[in-house]
Symmetry: C2
DNA sequence: TTCTGAAAATTGTGATCACAGTTTGCGGTG
DNA sequence: CACCGCAAACTGTGATCACAATTTTCAGAA
């Protein structure tokens, strides 16, 4: 293979997403969906080969994921791995979520309009459907969308980013709930209560509903993690 | 760091810190110290030239800083800049700190020993010295060290990382306090109270002392930011 | 069979180049 | 003097290579 013939056609890429962003999203989803199991090692080249890109954009994406603590880097040999699920990590992540997310819901309440209420009801219906069908990926996506459709209305960029980072880190934990207790373990959530509170701009009601929703979900995660020791 | 000549001699690097980590630390300090003013644009090559390294490790460091929101990236033209100091950002950052940091102090309380108490007193003395001398950089460093010497004892890696990220983002705000009200504006802190509480393993006392310390500091930052509009 | 040790493969890191957008600078035109 | 237009410089992105440090593999000795 001569250096000149290493074609590898380039992309216009002006409007489209950069490759490293696509790679980031791909790895992110793989982590949340549990396609890359916690504890196992990964490498830049193996990820690159799997995604059909050069190691360069993978390197960028991985740096970002490491900074967000969705990937861990062994300080001794500098090798990459997926953080493993420990009770201590879950506990801290839970506590942090339990502070930021209700806060975001409360901040969103004043800015909620009829269109958002409708969208939230549609999204929540999608959550219920996914639950009935036992479609794990669809559930994870829909559940995420419900929460962040609310949080985005809070007009609090910094807190929103914190919440995003926490979901990314807790994604693998959510997966183990399905793995161990099945979809039946998650039939109930507090989305309806949250939407009702938001509809009438009841900030404290929204805060309480989201707090209860998280609290119950996280109890199940804790039980699943402890059962799997 | 040696100038990046085309000779490109390599380092041993086994035990020593990687170049991109040194670059990260250098930019980090420059941001916190306000040597790179908020709002202005930077570029990979200009930073690389300034630090005497190739653009590659700068790219890695910048990715990390962007993920930590210490640098911002313009989505339109993808150019880098230092986030500007807005009241909304300060408010959210403050609220987040006011939750995590007292929590870390409370968690640390049970694990405090005599050696740590001594170290904290030494560090706090350094804070007072820097204040008397009006040495801004020394104050920022010493103040950071006092807080994180406590937080590291909490045995809460996730929350500790959150606190670190928040300090990085709020660093430039701290600087404006000195810029506008001078070192005299910060003569009082609640470090002594915090250390006293920690010494007797009083978690709630430590929580309150740290909360008060942050609260007062952030009031000054808010005033400085508002005055500078 | 089990241990040993050297070769081979794999890893993260850094340098350098190519390329396509964007911004900047500067000349000429009205 | 003000405005336009184009070229040069600069920007982030991606590819490819080189290198040192691991880790893995496997043949040979006990």
């Amino acid at each position: 293979m001569s250096p000149a013939s290493t074609g590898s056609q380039r992309r216009p890429l002006a409007d489209s997403l950069a490759v490293h962003d696509q790679v980031y999203e791909a790895i992110r989803q793989a982590l949340i969906n549990g396609r890359i199991a916690p504890g196992v090692g990964v490498s830049l080249r193996s990820l690159a080969a799997e995604l059909g890109v050069s190691p360069m954009p993978v390197r960028d994406a991985v740096r970002r994921l490491v900074a967000e603590r969705a990937l861990a880097i062994n300080p001794a040999n500098k090798r990459l791995s997926v953080p493993s699920l420990t009770a201590a990590r879950l506990e801290q992540l839970s506590q942090a979520r339990l502070w930021v997310e209700p806060e975001l819901a409360a901040r969103a309440a004043p800015h909620v309009d009829a269109a958002l209420v409708k969208r939230l009801r549609d999204l929540d219906a999608a959550v219920d459907d996914a639950l009935k069908l036992g479609d794990v990926d669809a559930y994870m996506t829909a559940n995420h969308d419900v929460h962040f459709a609310i949080y985005e209305r809070a007009d609090a960029e910094v807190l929103l980013a914190m919440a995003g980072g926490l979901w990314l880190q807790i994604g693998p934990f959510m997966r183990v709930v399905f793995g161990r207790v099945g979809a039946d373990g998650l039939v109930a959530d507090r989305h309806v209560e949250a939407v009702e509170a938001l509809k009438v701009h009841d900030a404290e009601g929204a805060r309480r509903a989201i707090a209860a929703d998280l609290s119950e979900g996280m109890d199940k995660m804790r039980a699943a993690v402890e059962a799997g020791r």
